[in-house]
Symmetry: D2
Subunit: 179 residues, 4 copies
């Protein structure tokens, strides 16, 4: 059985994966605060998207590139749980991992955490895949997405962009996700 | 048994309510679109807040007024289900109803629908309580909130602002919610 | 000399107009505030666009309609002067008037003012053309725009969409702008 | 004449400075695009603020720190000139420099430029002071600000926070701005 067939058979029985966590780090913007003195709650959804974008880049792809090839990935549903508030100028980390990657859809889990500032000069630490999320937990959440064409019709990624589909699988396996 | 006692006893056994639907109507802003040509998905959370704000106003209160009395209502959790996309300049309606109103918290359900334009001159129709949501369904969702002090500590609304608490109950009963 | 020729000759010598003021009224959103407790300063640019959109609608057109016919109107420059701050739930009015309308470009002036609330129940007053701006002055500004194609190349509106071009002129004249 | 007196005398005669350019680099977010397929024009004002924030941090201060000491720096006016559009996932640089720093106010110039991507893996290059702006010019602009108290009354920074005032001057001098 070829690798391709193995993957294919595994995917028939089990599409769920627990991919590795990816960290994307940035500063909270003044514009993102509200008059409660904390980050307005809808901004975390924007941050989830930063997490997805940077994780895909780390896998060797860009979401912009997929879109230019005619494949979009709109949000089907989203869930957010707010535990603590991010504040202006906080160094926050969006941890992102795939919880499903199939020819038809992707689901993601997120954790947004406040990073400790060891040094006030650190303005933009590095991002990348990591063992486990660290920092003070602020918000958790998840989103579900479907692959669609520019006309918003469902497409199978393995048929529309088979190279991208296989390469994302390989990259995920290499990064050590529990597939 | 006084009305107060009745309410109090009912609330002990059953805090859940299905309040009446409230409609708030507005136009989609250009700034709210993204390069997919539709409204960016985090904006619906902003719109849910418009729904809450206008519903409370219709009940005779303003959220700004409660806040100036020291009671805030941050979001604990949120859920969104995206069915269809709103587009620039669409006339959209946020339908909002309370699904719980207790001394400690409030939960809301939402439906965002596209209103038909009978006349291109209609720029801002009226909003208010209504029998049932109408228009093309775009997004459904819910949010949960807790009453807190400015220091973000939980407060009981019935003790901190008893007049507001009772008046909101009365207004809800009058509007015909199935309490 | 026909009306068309008159207009054309006047435009050759003098493209500048001082169109009538148009009012668009809405509530400040919680999301638009920042931790200073006032509206974050970039939101006024979003509000200017609401002013342009609603003014064009009142003239019998929609910007969405022009765009679907392939004519876009991107911003070339913008200027804002902040005098006082809008706050959450304020009833604000964007006053908009054209200061130039030519086959190649449009410029606008804006005044953002706080409307007095005679009645807390007033959530969305009517908008439309008016004699002169009223209310507490918050922000003034201006923007300049060019008509372009979808490929972002300059177009002459009088050649690309002559009906729209003439109709906007007629509507402006009818509304009593000092052309 | 002490350094303090020298500085003071120079400031009496000449408050204008041309500080060194500071670069802050980041990726364009999907949420920042609009249906024209480019960044919505009000976002550049948000980016100017990122420029100011990161430049102050590089000088050894944080705007968050100044605010917590009771000194705010609201925007009095802003000007933007749009030359080219930023797009989703572009690597953009906000170049910021002070053009005035006085006890009463600060003014800034900005250039927003698109950075070349030598390597698609570069997600967040370093920022800091630099000789001259580089990259494709997209937007230029300026903002003016006044030091105020939490009650929005003008304050003199040299009296309210003399240490901060002098330290910012020293840092600017050290960074080689043509003071």
């Amino acid at each position: 059985m070829s690798i391709q067939e193995e993957r294919s058979s595994r995917m028939k029985s089990q599409d769920l994966i627990a991919g590795p966590w990816h960290a994307a780090i940035f500063r909270v913007r003044y514009q993102e605060t509200d008059q409660m003195g904390v980050v307005y709650h809808s901004n975390y959804l924007n941050w989830f998207e930063i997490g997805r974008t940077e994780m895909l880049r780390e896998l060797g792809f860009t979401y912009a590139g997929l879109e230019s090839q005619g494949v979009l990935l709109p949000v089907l549903s989203a869930e957010l749980n707010y535990k603590r508030s991010a504040r202006y100028d906080d160094l926050v980390v969006v941890y992102t991992r795939m919880t499903a990657f199939t020819p038809l859809r992707i689901t993601y889990d997120y954790e947004i955490r406040r990073a400790a500032e060891e040094d006030s000069k650190i303005s933009v630490p590095e991002s990348g895949f990591c063992e486990a999320p660290g920092g003070e937990l602020l918000v958790t959440g998840s989103t579900a997405h479907a692959w669609v064409s520019r006309e918003m019709r469902p497409v199978r990624l393995d048929r529309t962009l088979p190279d991208a589909y296989n390469a994302i699988w390989s990259a995920l396996e290499q990064k050590g996700g529990a597939l």
